[in-house]
Amino acid sequence: MSGRIIHGRSHEGELRLRADVVVCGGGAGGSMAARELARAGLRVVLLEEGADRLPPDFTQREDEMIPELFQEMGGRRTADLAILVMGGRGLGGSTIHNQNLCKRAPDEVLSRWEHEHGVEGARPAAMAPFYAEVERDLGVVRIRDDQVNAHNALFARGRDALGWRGGRLSHNRDERCVGSGFCELGCSFDGKLNARRVLLPQAVEAGAVVVSDARVEGLRHDGARVLGASGALLDARGRVRARVEVDARAACLAGSAIGSPAIALRSAVPDPRSLIGKRLRIHPGAVVAGLFDEPIEAWRGIPQSEDCTEHLDFAQGSERRVWLVPSFAHPVGAASSMTGFGPTLMGRMRAYPRMAALAAMVHDESQGSVTVDGERTVIEYLPDEADRAQLALGVREGARLLLAAGARECVVPAVPELALRGEADLDAITAARFGPHDAKLTAVHPMGTMPMGADPSTSVTDALGRHHHLRGLWVTDGSLFPTSIGGPPQLSVYAFALRAARALADELGA
């Protein structure tokens, strides 16, 4: 099979393919799986629901790119509408719009996966070679001093003034990056060493057939083994124009921790303990904004180059589970992250150039779920009391950091809005202020809905990602994580997908 990319929106007629493996989803995990399996000599077909967008397509306009690059046109929320759950759509998935942060999963988390969840081989020393290979392939390097923008320098100033832990981040950009600050809308300058730029071309070179605009509607199986996948080719507006069928002896689910369980549930994949879609973690994040007297123009430059881990402790039973990181947005995103309306909101937006903002992202323990209701995927998630306390901790300490950096006032987008002008105001931020809809929450890291583990009564796949009950079914995305990971997941998604794909290739005799 000669490798190629097929654009479903312009393909004539139906598409029927035969493969050894069908990969369902073209994000970080799916792209890595496709590359590895194709390089092992297997016939690989990858199906991705979204479009194939390249740097010339990225206009840097929020109204054009948000609907294009994100699930449900950027409006996907939990069932109660309280939390915005962002996820990528398109060849490259979330690696098209993500902020390129590269961190390995913490040693404590990996060790817990190995020793408490039976994920043999997840311990740090065993995973190190996979991470190293991913870091090499994606050109991961530490962000340079001259790449730190004013916003991140201000964040670092506040962190360092308090003597808090944290530091410079690493990323997967190369010399094409001009520091435009438009990462979240796709890189017009092709500066991201992401799945689309690095892995998918390698997969195609090795013989994989990659199909965009191809929505997987279900896996075909006979209850004992995988037979293939079925779906639809979509036009530019997402309407069905033709069918796509792939006959395959194995399948990798790589549609994210939201999309993968949805496919599995719609396909009636054997699930004797009803575990698929459960244990959803999302890293719920709250925003704190600081208002300064001097212009910062935080939308310019690399968006995230510093972090604060002072309140992020991975020890068992920790009561500090929040990661602080600069988090600014272009005007639509910034205004949407605030609360209020009318002159109050417009007044806040006038201060836009003098604003800084950070996200307090919780290493969550609450467990949500993904279910399906006809064609609709339903996400349910309610932060429990402990995670609400973490949100309060993150917002309180985030405000403290911004005040230490020189903010004359901090604002917490909540209903009603919280305005903080000094240390004395910080005591008002308690868990009680974080009921559903009380504060704006966003989640960008869904994970855990088809977790790895040794025990089929508590896990969906084995330690490598092989489904416990359906022969030929593997999972190669963040659904695999048995717990929250407590930081940016992309390296871990790539690394565990690499590991799973090699194991699958061995099993198929490649």
């Binding site: 409006g75 069932a79 009318g342 150039p353 323990e365 429990d384 402990a386």
Partner: protein
């Protein structure tokens, strides 16, 4: 913090851990936990049922159907919304984006309504239907919560703000969420436009930037 057995897994990979977590949620008598059972489907059924009640009888139908007018050219250009829906959404975003004498352009100047119409046209049927139901709730039902019998579009500006505040602060989570979704769409329709950028000091995309900038 965890109820997991000493030294045991704490993330619910044991049935005991999951049962304990569920029990804590029940025992907390958490209002929000109960509120989350207001599923989207229940919310929409109530919204539509309320509308049906108001629409019963020819008199009410005439009342509901009157007073929604836009220029003929704009009406002809609609791709997804009805004239009534356009009038309602423009009334809502006029309050959300009100600037009271400031230098920001009015929503009409950036054709926010037309943008929203086109956006709704790209939504799948279910999401588009949800959006229409939400407009219906704002126009006919939300004013009732503030003691007003009138349609939203016929209220004074202050009364409209009271309705929107009521939605933003509603004890019903879905109403809060619905308001936030409307608000977000209005902000997308507004701050997408280069004429809004100068007033907020934003220089816009690097790609396609005209000489001299957008400002």
């Amino acid at each position: 913090m965890s109820d997991a057995p000493e030294g045991g897994p704490r993330d619910g990979d044991s049935r005991g851990g999951e049962a304990q977590r569920a029990a804590r949620a029940r025992q907390a008598g958490d209002r929000e936990t109960r509120g989350s059972r207001w599923t989207r489907r229940r919310f929409l059924r109530i919204g539509l049922a309320g509308g049906a009640l108001l629409g019963a009888g020819g008199l009410c139908a005439r009342f509901m159907g009157s007073g929604y007018e836009v220029e003929a050219a704009r009406a002809r250009a609609l791709v997804a919304l009805s004239v009534k829906e356009l009038v309602v959404v423009e009334a809502i975003i006029a309050r959300i984006l009100r600037d009271d004498g400031g230098d920001l352009p009015a929503p009409a100047e950036v054709e926010a309504g037309a943008f929203i119409d086109a956006f709704v046209g790209r939504l799948d049927e279910r999401n588009a239907g949800d959006f229409r139901s939400l407009l219906h709730v704002v126009e006919h039902l939300a004013p009732l919560a503030t003691g007003s019998l009138g349609r939203f579009t016929r209220l004074s500006g202050d009364a409209q703000d009271e309705v929107l505040r009521g939605l933003e602060e509603s004890p019903v989570g879905l109403l809060r969420g619905g308001f936030d979704a409307l608000r977000t769409l209005g902000l997308l329709a507004y701050f997408r436009h280069p004429s809004t950028w100068a007033a907020i000091g934003y220089d816009g995309p690097m790609v396609g930037r005209p000489q001299g900038g957008f400002r």
